[in-house]
């Protein structure tokens, strides 16, 4: 007789227990907002092997990015549509052996900066005198990013300026100035792009250029003919800008060959990067698209075959904003990190860490998303990220910046954003249907992430405890050994915020080695050259990149952390020409300058 009342009591207790589970999980996971604490450098060195100090002001850099002001028809949602443009690229433009920094500005009439490394920890802006500052004049569009590559193999890195507007190519005149050669090169009059990559897709020793359109190229964002210029879907938009592949003809001119070689997409590209993902000797092209799936263009040396769905990276649509490659397991294979959006309680896309499946390579390569398992899935409204061994322990770590629009801290635009984003394409495709932002934030003031690779399959976020405490609207991240001291420093470009230079101090016990490559038969920038380093029974590969992350380019020099007491066996360089070079007798703590053997 008493069976049901007793059962009901027990089930009621069970029910209350279920309701308490989220609270218990929250406490156990310790996922609380970390308090901003004063950096304890000794503890950071002892616990993590490094710490970062933000030194931009001391280094003579007081750059604050300015955003564009687009057509007044977009005024209600201006903070959102004008939310990109802060970028950073690292280049040794004058070949003095010290990395310099180029940053873009995006207000009409604003000026970009080229910070020359003065070798003493300070930087000096020389963009104006060298002719690459005043590039955002009204009527020509504004800067969104930059990538450097020596397209004419004269030994000096040239500049391609990514714009919403008139794309620009600047020839580097032996480090003494830049000459605008956009028309001679054959660039189109207008592209609304956020990403570009230098790479030699056909292995002819000349750098080619991929440019990924975001808004359609017939849209002038300052003089809109119609407000129907927004994506026609939040997940499957196919009304974005076209893609360009400029094949380098070798005479200072480029031929646009995208359709001819199999690249034909109107997704909304935000990030792209190229690397030899399958060990074929040909660089493949990975494109992360906003409002849709990623695309992976497999390269057979002449043509590309889009294999996003086939390889697993292009099935679930998200908001792709970053492409970075890293051999995170020291197994000689690249994982790909694609950033997306996660906002507690509203939208949890999760970032993707695409890891190649065991035993699959070549055309059968397949990826699985390990972001959750490895702890790098949730990063807020994520933008730029880069892999690099920040504590020189021998494994690649991951730095991620984030934050979309930081305005009123107490008012959020998320409700209105979800209201419109779930709707039909005819509604969301027209900007006039979008509710006004009215000074509200959208995933603003977010804490950054610096995930240390523990070498055992997990990444641990240590950002706060090693000194990364900013909450600006981060966009681009670039890594470089700015002080030439064997530590990777971090440069972060923030939208409508300051350029941050995080100087890295690494425990002296942790060793390193760096390589600066120069092609002869291959393109002189050596973009696409891969170094495989064997030490202490492990192997790591890295490749010289012509642009990666979000609107960013790391230093072309390759930096390997080696951990304590390293025994370096050898380094094998595979040049884009196919030549393979083996280096023995290497010692740690040195930068090796290697020229491709004739």
């Amino acid at each position: 007789m008493k069976r049901i009342p007793i059962a009901r009591t027990l089930v009621s207790i069970f029910f209350v227990g279920l309701l308490l589970v989220p609270i218990i999980v929250r406490r156990l996971s310790g996922r609380q907002v970390a308090a901003q604490t004063k950096l304890d450098t000794k503890a950071a060195l002892a616990n993590h092997g490094f710490y970062l100090t933000e030194v931009s002001h001391a280094a003579g850099i007081d750059f604050v990015h300015q955003g564009p002001t687009l057509d007044s028809k977009l005024a209600a949602i201006m903070p959102e549509v004008a939310s990109m443009g802060a970028s950073v690229s690292i280049v040794d433009f004058d070949r003095d052996g010290w990395p310099d920094i180029y940053v873009t500005n995006s207000a009409e009439g604003s000026k970009n900066r080229l910070y020359r490394n003065m070798h003493d920890g300070t930087f000096k802006d020389v963009a104006e005198e060298l002719g690459i500052a005043d590039v955002n004049q009204a009527g020509t569009g504004v800067s969104m990013g930059s990538v450097w590559g020596d397209y004419d193999n004269d030994g000096y890195e040239d500049l391609y300026l990514v714009k919403w507007g008139r794309p620009e190519l600047f020839h580097n005149d032996h480090g003494h100035g830049f000459t605008r050669v956009s028309e001679q090169a054959g660039l189109p009059p207008w592209i609304n792009a956020n990403t570009a990559v230098w790479f030699d897709y056909d292995g002819d020793g000349l750098l080619d250029l991929f440019v990924g359109g975001y808004y359609p190229e017939d849209v002038d964002l300052w003089h809109l003919k119609s407000t129907r210029m927004m994506p026609n879907s939040f997940e499957y938009a196919n009304n974005g800008g076209r893609k360009y592949l400029f094949h380098n003809l070798g005479n200072g001119r480029f031929e646009e060959v995208s359709a001819k070689v199999g690249i034909d997409s109107r997704r909304w590209a935000l990030a792209a990067a190229a690397a030899d993902l399958r060990g074929t000797g040909h660089p493949d092209l990975f494109v992360a698209n906003d409002y849709g799936v990623s695309e992976l263009y497999l390269n057979d040396g002449k043509r590309f075959h889009e294999a996003g769905a086939q390889t697993g990276v292009g099935f679930a649509p998200k908001s792709g904003m970053n492409v970075a490659f890293g051999d995170i397991f020291n197994q000689g294979k690249y994982a790909v990190y694609v950033s997306n959006i996660s906002e507690d309680g509203v939208l949890i896309q999760g970032n993707n860490l695409w890891v190649p499946r065991e035993g699959m390579n070549g055309n059968s390569i397949k990826y699985e998303n390990m972001a959750r398992d490895m702890g790098v899935e949730l990063g807020g409204w994520s933008f730029g990220a880069q892999f690099g061994d920040l504590n020189n322990d021998g494994t690649l770590d991951l730095y991620l910046t984030n934050g979309y629009v930081s305005l009123n801290r107490k008012k959020s635009y998320w409700y209105d954003f979800t209201k419109i984003s779930g709707g039909n394409s005819t509604i969301i495709g027209d900007a006039k249907n979008w509710p006004g932002m009215d000074g509200r934030s959208l995933s603003g003031y977010q804490q950054k992430h610096l995930w240390l690779n523990d070498g055992a399959g997990k990444f641990i976020d240590v950002a706060q405890s090693v000194g990364v405490t900013d909450t600006y609207d981060g966009r681009a991240v670039a890594l470089a050994d700015l002080w030439n001291n064997g530590a990777l420093d971090v440069v972060v470009a923030n939208q409508r915020g300051p350029l941050l230079i995080y100087k890295n101090t690494v425990s002296p016990d942790e060793q390193w080695i760096e390589f600066q490559l120069e092609g002869t038969k291959s393109n002189r920038s050596a973009i696409g050259a891969q170094v495989a380093l064997w030490w202490n029974g492990q192997k790591q590969i890295q490749e010289v990149s012509g642009g990666s992350g979000f609107s960013a380019q790391n230093d072309r020099r390759l930096h390997f952390g080696l951990g304590k007491n390293p025994q370096i066996e050898k380094a094998v360089i595979r040049w884009p020409s196919g030549r393979v070079q083996t280096l023995d007798s290497l010692v740690s703590g040195k930068l090796y300058k290697i020229e491709e053997p004739e």
Partner: protein
């Protein structure tokens, strides 16, 4: 989102014979519809991040139903409603973790057996589960974010198919009242907020609302009995939702049903008890 099939069988008519031959038992229609939505959505748009999570939600839901049904009803329950609850949780819930899928399903099914008044459970199970999760575990879960590609064709197919099935189950009036109320109140909201009208109408064109309308607000077990009452409740849900929307609540429809549904049932029970006691008084002076 669960019991469409259990009530409202098709009444026999003069064509009942051939109808029966060519039609499925009504109790299988909603599970079939939601399975179709799941499969079409996932094959064409990849709405599921993983089959494992959806499977976990379904299995958790069905196992809980079997155990609790056996304990409280002394029989093995029909699993159609638990299946729909599980699959709804699998579609609607978004989380990078596995535990919320199991927890949400368990909460939904257990609520049916724990939160009862005079033998009736008063919350729609999956509405209870989803609302509890987005309220209590906001840092771990969200609801469906993929929008069928914001595609008009996919939207029309689901609306058409859903409407036919709901019509057949004689609950179309609930959907109609809710949709008309939502659109009418969108005019009011846009007048109050100054936001574009289409932005106020926009949510109802998404898949979340398709599931909400066809599987939650029409649930026979947690809606009032009379047709007029059902229409009033549907309108009340839309009104409360509007108020929540004016307060910028992202999960306004779920919370509105969470609030209005049980109140409506309690009012109905109270009215019924008054009527019964009134009749008893008349019969036995």
């Amino acid at each position: 989102m669960s019991h469409l099939a259990i009530a409202a069988p098709v009444p026999p008519g003069k064509n009942a014979g051939w109808r029966q031959m060519f039609s499925l038992d009504n109790r299988f229609m909603p599970p079939l519809l939601i399975t179709l939505i799941l499969l079409v959505g996932n094959v064409s748009f990849g709405i599921l991040e993983s089959y494992q999570k959806t499977l976990l939600a379904i299995v958790s839901s069905m196992v809980a139903e079997l155990i609790l049904g056996r304990i409280f009803l002394h029989k093995w329950p029909h699993l159609a409603s638990a299946y729909i609850t599980g699959i709804s949780v699998g579609i609607l819930l978004r989380s990078p973790f596995f535990w919320p899928y199991a927890l949400c399903s368990l909460l939904a099914i257990t609520s049916k057996y724990v939160l009862r008044v005079k033998g009736r459970h008063i919350w729609n199970p999956s509405n209870f589960g989803i609302s509890a999760m987005v309220f209590l575990a906001a840092e771990s879960v969200a609801t469906l974010s993929i929008q069928w590609g914001n595609n008009l064709g996919a939207m029309l197919v689901i609306w058409l198919l859903g409407s036919v099935i709901i019509w057949r189950l004689r609950r179309f009036h609930i959907c109609a009242v809710y949709v008309i109320s939502f659109i009418a109140l969108a005019f009011l909201r846009t007048w109050i907020t100054g936001d574009p009208l289409l932005s106020e109408i926009s949510p109802i064109t998404g898949p979340e609302y398709q599931l909400f309308i066809f599987f939650m607000i029409t649930d026979p077990k947690t809606t009032v009995r009379s047709k007029k009452g059902q229409c009033i409740v549907a309108f009340a849900v839309a009104v409360v939702e509007m108020l929540l929307r004016l307060d910028q609540s992202v999960y306004a429809p779920f919370y509105a049903l969470f609030m209005v549904g049980p109140i409506a049932l309690l009012v109905e029970m109270w009215l019924n008890s008054r009527r019964i006691s009134g009749s008893a008084t008349t019969v036995n002076p």
